[in-house]
Symmetry: C2
Subunit: 330 residues, 2 copies
């Protein structure tokens, strides 16, 4: 990266408010010297934290008074929240003043503002949300995670192309693509899945590996997993639910009686190190693929390290010219 | 149960063959004195195991030479496997000679034979596959798990009614029902989900609790979770995949070095007891709801205890007149 990358940040999006975003931003600037950040939000009492930082010169704070609520309808946010931190952050990218935007706010509103201000490439009706997930072999990319609830076969093919472009940025040569389905037999699946499979099999640039079932998702057999947004959203959230259920039930077991408590003292550090490898923060930062510039959604409930990872994801996508690459493959 | 319940069993369905089914059957007969079993399969060398059992008088073995393969297409099984253990077992129930049928075989073929021989109630095009899942509060029932890939709103309402009938058998009074969806807000979801929600809200006998997201599935907030078969199948298999991934990664961690191995010696018995509570065998036995008589699908890879649980599930459904109750609520 010889050129400076400029990220635009909606600092009001996360559940924990702008202080966490500022702390993550300072940590990020230390790691990435060739970057600068513009943050939009309500920074009352927080200016001092920035001024004291060695990176203050690469960080601009712009005060905004309006915030998009977490449960606000996208249409309402579009009409009434044009002065909000989210709108301003997206706008800075849309007008070419920044290279990418990161927000931990309301996904529907962020996508609506992305479509309105940044715009999708011709032929893409709505961007697809794409995220890496941890697997037994490292990680895979999965899309769509909820932007497009019922997808045509053509949309699924588009997702395969966009997901492959993103996977290549992370060093996957000729990334393999599978469709998430109820079985691996060629005859099983909904009409759009079966048609998409036929199209992908014949496609010159998609390395189609067939179907993957739900239990294969975390085995990491393929680089990119494609599905409609309803299935992807449920699959991702069910995964989080199972992991949380297992973790809390295991913790309860380790407190059940004196013996288990002692066992817990021994294994808890081990469990913590083990869980750290699958920490969702490591995998934070979902790409909204199909927009003409980079827009990254951070998980609203992430921690400081997680938000930093979302900023890193944005830099990776800008450095690799992801939007241009996607335009070429559509 | 004053009357004797007669179960018909396809002994060739499971991955482990008829020996496991016979062992499970003997264990089951000891627990349930008012039952008798007819098993269909290839019992060469296995007759002795049965004759020695104290329950031999309540167990008939009928030799069949044909087996439905695990990867056989349903249509092909219907045409060419009319002498198979699966066909014979389903037929015994269809002709009223047995009260319920249990098979661990090919789900598609079993459903096809169920529809052909037992038949669905008027208005039900395909049965819905329904299973209990473990949750933080005990268990919930989820349907459909893969029989109906794209469902109309009317089908989802039907699933709610059938799932509620099954939940009542297990002591849930006025069981609460939620639709699995991408968000809990009223405005989010596919058209069929939103229409189904509107219909359920107005329905006199459905206790509709709104939407549940993927991460809420295992919190057990509702008694019955309704979704189309594509989503349900993926959600269930993703859950299995996450649990298996966590278990294998934790085991690997406990073997990583000498210290972890010692910690492992202490916690492994504890982990085993903890995992036993969520053992899939406890929850084995999926109901095919909407058929005019009881048909239970056992997981092909289950163990002896799991198959026994599938037989118990069949007895529960017969005792509670599940098919009749479902006919009344449709």
């Amino acid at each position: 990266m010889s050129q400076q990358i400029h990220l635009s940040i909606d600092a009001m999006g996360g559940d924990q408010g702008p202080r966490l975003v500022i702390e993550a931003s300072i940590a990020f600037l230390k790691r990435y010297p060739h970057t600068r950040l513009t943050l939009f939000g309500d920074f009352a009492d927080l200016e001092a934290a920035v001024k004291g930082s060695v990176c203050a010169s690469r960080m601009s704070l712009i005060q905004t008074e309006i915030t998009v609520a977490a449960d606000e309808r996208a249409g309402s946010a579009l009409r009434h929240k044009q002065g909000s931190s989210m709108w301003k952050a997206v706008e800075l990218v849309a007008t070419g003043q920044a290279d990418a935007c990161v927000s931990g706010g309301n996904t529907g509103a962020l996508m609506a503002m992305g479509r309105k201000l940044i715009k999708t490439f011709p032929g893409v009706s709505r961007p697809a949300i794409c995220k890496p997930i941890p697997t037994a072999r490292g990680s895979s990319f999965i899309l769509d995670l909820g932007a497009n609830l019922n997808c045509s076969a053509q949309q699924l093919v588009q997702f395969a192309l966009m997901g492959s472009a993103l996977a290549r940025v992370y060093g996957r040569e000729n990334p393999s693509v599978a469709l998430l389905n109820v079985g691996t037999e060629l005859s099983k699946g909904s009409e759009s899945i079966l048609t998409a499979a036929a199209l992908m099999r014949e496609h010159p640039t998609i390395n189609f590996a067939g179907f993957v079932e739900g239990h294969g998702l975390y085995q990491g057999e393929v680089d990119v997993v494609v599905c409609d947004g309803l299935i992807g959203n449920v699959a991702l959230k069910v995964s989080e639910g199972v992991a949380a259920f297992i973790a809390s039930s295991l913790k309860a077991k380790l407190r059940e009686n004196r013996f288990n408590q002692i066992a817990g003292l021994i294994v808890e550090p081990l469990l913590r190190r083990w869980m750290a490898a699958y920490n969702p923060s490591n995998f934070n930062g979902a790409a909204m693929l199909g927009l003409q510039r980079t827009l990254v959604k951070s998980h609203g409930g992430t921690d400081k390290f997680g938000f930093e990872q979302a900023l890193v994801a944005a830099v990776d996508q800008v450095s690799a010219n992801i939007p241009e690459r996607i335009a070429q493959c559509l």
